[in-house]
Symmetry: C2
Subunit: 336 residues, 2 copies
């Protein structure tokens, strides 16, 4: 492989974090390539209708957001290849990073890599979930979509920390009525959060139904809204229909990092640990950005900022490739 | 002062970081107030013409960006008061944060505070600097504006790390010719950076002129461009005129944090240390966001993300005000 085939930076994943990294790297005139596994870049945000919490965009649809980011990258000469699923990451003895693509059929080489494969929300897989997600009535993120349910009735599903915490958030900040169901007889969340949930149920119109599962989300005839949801008590098998305006499904996220297991340390949930000031992983030349990063805030603005920070570190790395490590004013060393 | 006069969150500074925090806090239906010292919100970015590196905005002017952010905040009921210069920060025994405004003439109370006063670029103060900054030909940020000088001749001014580092960046990534001047006979920057500068001068069209100062930036007759710059050797008093397309002034930044000295620990340059995962300062209830934060990346996207992260932490803080401290998966404790 000749030198001309070595990219300055390859970005794995063409979602907002990857595209933001691509913008900064390409604008710095680095030879930049984004590898996107799907047929289109964008990732998770492509599934989002109205975004109203990205700073300086009062309202924008996910696909429109991605299209703008894509054009920005290309304006500065950044390349985007779709249908490229990266399955292997390896640092060679000469310091170049090798990426195995599409089951090892292709190999790409880069002087630096930004990992931005994102995370997917875990789905329930019940009838109506996908259809009503497309209609914008099934959500997986309270911070993102809670504000759309002011004075409405929503159903929340899940039993972990996020489910309990975000149900309290919905019930106290936005909704008129909230129902939370969980398939077990007890919540899995921390005790302090569960106590707060029950306290909220005394003060607000919040129903807690255990052990219940969501069997079906039934759309209105025009498919635009939820007519009702059907929940079932798994102990008594009793079925109940509820009129709700929205469904929030809080059953976890899956970072798209399974392929990294042999190359990098991951936390127990599969997220990639990184220096939050530089986005450096422990592998020299390899950065991480966006929703697959450990402790990521999981918002569009923060994912983009991750990409920006990672790309800005590339020139530091090229200046002195042997200096990889904690930033000089890391919290660890400097205190904060 | 009655409870109704206590804000859930007061944000000090109406620049991009403060407005982004205001968007998230107001959208969470917290009673949110932004205090801006100037007659208009926006801060430093108001002085920027073309922004082309904010993700999903291919081209936008600073004032337009701010106007959009402002409308976003107000859409969700966030309040913005201008002409309010905060000069004092104090946490009362009851946990509320007290802000002294306009030399103590007014006092504001809040359950939480986001400090986003920003930083200002240090100016040279030479004739033509302000006029040609307005014309977009004098810049203080290479990452922001380097790409506008592809194949052009620019003058860089300064002798510290940023000056030397960013001059190399300009010379190697963008410009056709670069001249750097510094008023002393030696650069103040780290040795490794200075060595790289001299190495770059051998490979690229880069002139290093010491000890020289910039006496004047002379505009073309229409005021739209730089006709030439006049530099002077302070040892020989010899004057030289150079034809350049742009001037980059790298003589430091001044965080707007002097008023915080008695309330919070600042680093030696005046920046506010914070947990980079939560934006928490050491004072319970007080967060920091944007360019005044220690280790901030000083980009529009990263300032906005700071504001988002700080605002998302407010509800965590209200849940358990006594739990203030490092985030559970802080780099210090969990490793990264």
């Amino acid at each position: 492989m000749s030198d001309s085939e070595v990219f300055d930076v390859i970005i794995v994943g063409g979602g907002p974090a990857g595209l933001a990294a691509g913008l900064y790297a390409a604008r710095d005139r680095y030879r930049t390539l984004i590898l996107e596994k799907n047929g289109l870049p964008g990732g998770q945000i492509m599934l989002t209708g109205d975004i109203e919490n990205y700073p300086a965009w009062e309202k924008i649809a996910g696909p429109d957001f991605v299209e703008r980011q894509k054009r920005q990258v290309q304006t500065f000469g950044g390349e985007i290849e779709v249908g490229k699923s990266v399955g292997k990451l390896n640092r060679r003895d000469d310091g170049l990073i090798e990426l195995g693509v599409n089951n090892g059929k292709e190999t790409y080489l880069a002087r630096s890599v930004v990992l931005a494969p994102g995370s997917d929300y875990r789905k329930l897989g019940c009838p109506g979930e996908e259809e009503l997600r497309q209609a914008g009535k099934v959500s997986y993120c309270a911070t993102c979509d809670g504000a759309f349910y002011r004075d409405k009735h929503v159903l929340a599903v899940g039993g972990g920390n996020t489910a309990v915490e975000d149900t309290v958030y919905l019930a106290t900040r936005f909704t008129k009525k909230t129902t939370i169901i969980h398939r077990r007889e007890e919540f899995r969340a921390q005790k302090v959060l569960v106590e707060e949930l029950y306290r909220t149920a005394e003060e607000k119109d919040l129903d807690i139904k255990l052990p219940c599962v969501l069997d079906e989300i039934v759309p209105t005839d025009d498919g635009a809204r939820i007519d009702h949801v059907r929940i079932r008590n798994v102990k008594t098998d009793q079925v109940e229909d509820l009129k709700v305006d929205g469904v929030f499904i809080f059953v976890g996220m899956i970072p798209n990092t399974g392929w990294l297991k042999e190359s990098l340390p991951l936390d127990r949930n599969g997220y990639v640990p990184a220096d939050p000031l530089t986005m450096k992983t422990v592998m020299p030349g390899v950065f991480v950005a966006g929703d697959c990063r450990k402790s990521a805030a999981m918002q569009l603005a923060t994912a983009c900022a991750d990409g920006v920070v990672a790309a800005m570190q590339i020139k530091e790395h090229f200046r002195d490739p042997d200096a990889w490590g904690h930033s000089t004013d890391q919290p660890q060393t400097g205190g904060w």
